[in-house]
Amino acid sequence: MRFKVYFTGLIWLFFTFNMVSQQNVLSKQESDTLREKVIEKSKNTSTIRSDFVQYKHLDFLSNDIKSSGNLVFKAPDMIKWEYQDPFNYIVIFKDKKLHINDSGTTSKIDLSSSKTFESLNGLIIKSVTGDMFDDDKFEITYFHNEANYIVKFRPLDKALRSFINEFVLHFDMNPLDVIELKMIESSEDYTLISFLNQKFNESISNEVFNN
């Protein structure tokens, strides 16, 4: 029995060490290059279509809460998130407003009434293209593992940090698409969104963003 506990502990230690060692810090030069490339790619992105899978992790739950759907982005600041499973819910960010369709019930939220909400939603839009590199708003750290670049954005604004303590973006190494967004709360609970089947710079009509 005691052997089993030690053995399980050793396995756990090995995996923990392995996970930590997988994330290596980028040098100043590497991080500067990554940053320039992502900003350049973001500037050249006019539209994105993507599927997504979202996991909400709360430490007391047996399983993460999974939802999925698709999103459409059109530069500079229109985005439509459509949840299709396990519920129907559409949220459109347009003209500093949130347009919501909750299973047929429509509503509108003016984001300018709350700076924190406006800021949070603005960041969610920016996270899709990856261009969140604002040193006045974040403490930014850069890492990589075997397949991805990992950039961590820690908000400097305390009000925003009370919502999200850290944004973590995963970019694939080539062609630097955002493949994962993790929003970590101060409690360590988090929301993880994986982006799949991304298509860039297709023609997308503005009508897509009507509620």
Partner: protein
């Protein structure tokens, strides 16, 4: 004159009596406890799509309820994106607010959320009285010092309604619908003395 006084007294008595049990006859309870099984399994994450109407504001999102241990629950409400709106820890009759957004961080509202969710989730409740009705088994209990009436349909013996009240007025009605085994797939919670309503639809996670 005597008739008038008696009539007035009788009218006063009737008008002040609680609507819930006004026409019902009381009887000796045939058991000690009522059991609410809808949030009783600690292995289940009870996840609901939620619509909250608080005063004149509407909040949509996900409500998560989890039994941590006997008489200890977590109730978390998040937006669809996963951002927490509130995170409450209900341990027996005590409340620990782990997080609540600034807009909802009001003492009276937190007190209401505490008593509402305590009434919604609490599993075992001592019976004070029982009432005779054609359609339901009705039991009176007390949750955080409030009178609470549990209605079990006679046809299937399932809990279908809880009413919380003062001595004279109904305050909150919780209705459980679309019951599948021990999960209520549709739940509505309506306050009668102010504008607050919660509608929940179970999500298979």
């Amino acid at each position: 004159m005597r008739f008038l006084i008696i009539s007035c007294f009788y009218f006063l008595l009737i008008s002040c009596s609680l609507k819930t049990t006004k026409t019902l006859v009381e009887k000796e309870p045939d058991k000690k406890e009522v059991i609410n099984e809808y949030f009783a399994n600690p292995d289940i994450d009870y996840v609901y799509k939620a619509k909250l109407q608080i005063y004149n504001n509407n909040y949509g999102g996900i409500l998560i309820i989890k039994k941590i241990e006997p008489n200890h629950y977590r109730v978390v409400f998040t937006t669809e994106f996963g951002n927490k709106i509130f995170d409450l820890d209900l341990d027996a009759d005590n409340l620990h607010v782990k997080y609540i957004v600034e807009q909802l961080n009001k003492k009276k509202l937190i007190k209401t959320l505490h008593s509402d969710f305590q009434l919604l989730v609490r599993q075992n409740n001592l019976i004070e009285k029982e009432f005779i009705s054609k359609t339901d088994f009705i039991y009176k209990s007390k949750i955080i010092n409030k009178d609470s009436y549990y209605f079990y349909l006679k046809s299937n013996n399932k809990l279908n309604k809880i009413i919380s009240s003062s001595k004279t007025n109904e305050k909150l009605t919780i209705e459980f619908n679309d019951i599948d085994d021990k999960i209520a797939k549709k739940i509505s919670m309506v306050h009668h003395n102010f504008n607050m309503k919660i509608d929940l639809t179970f999500i298979n996670n």
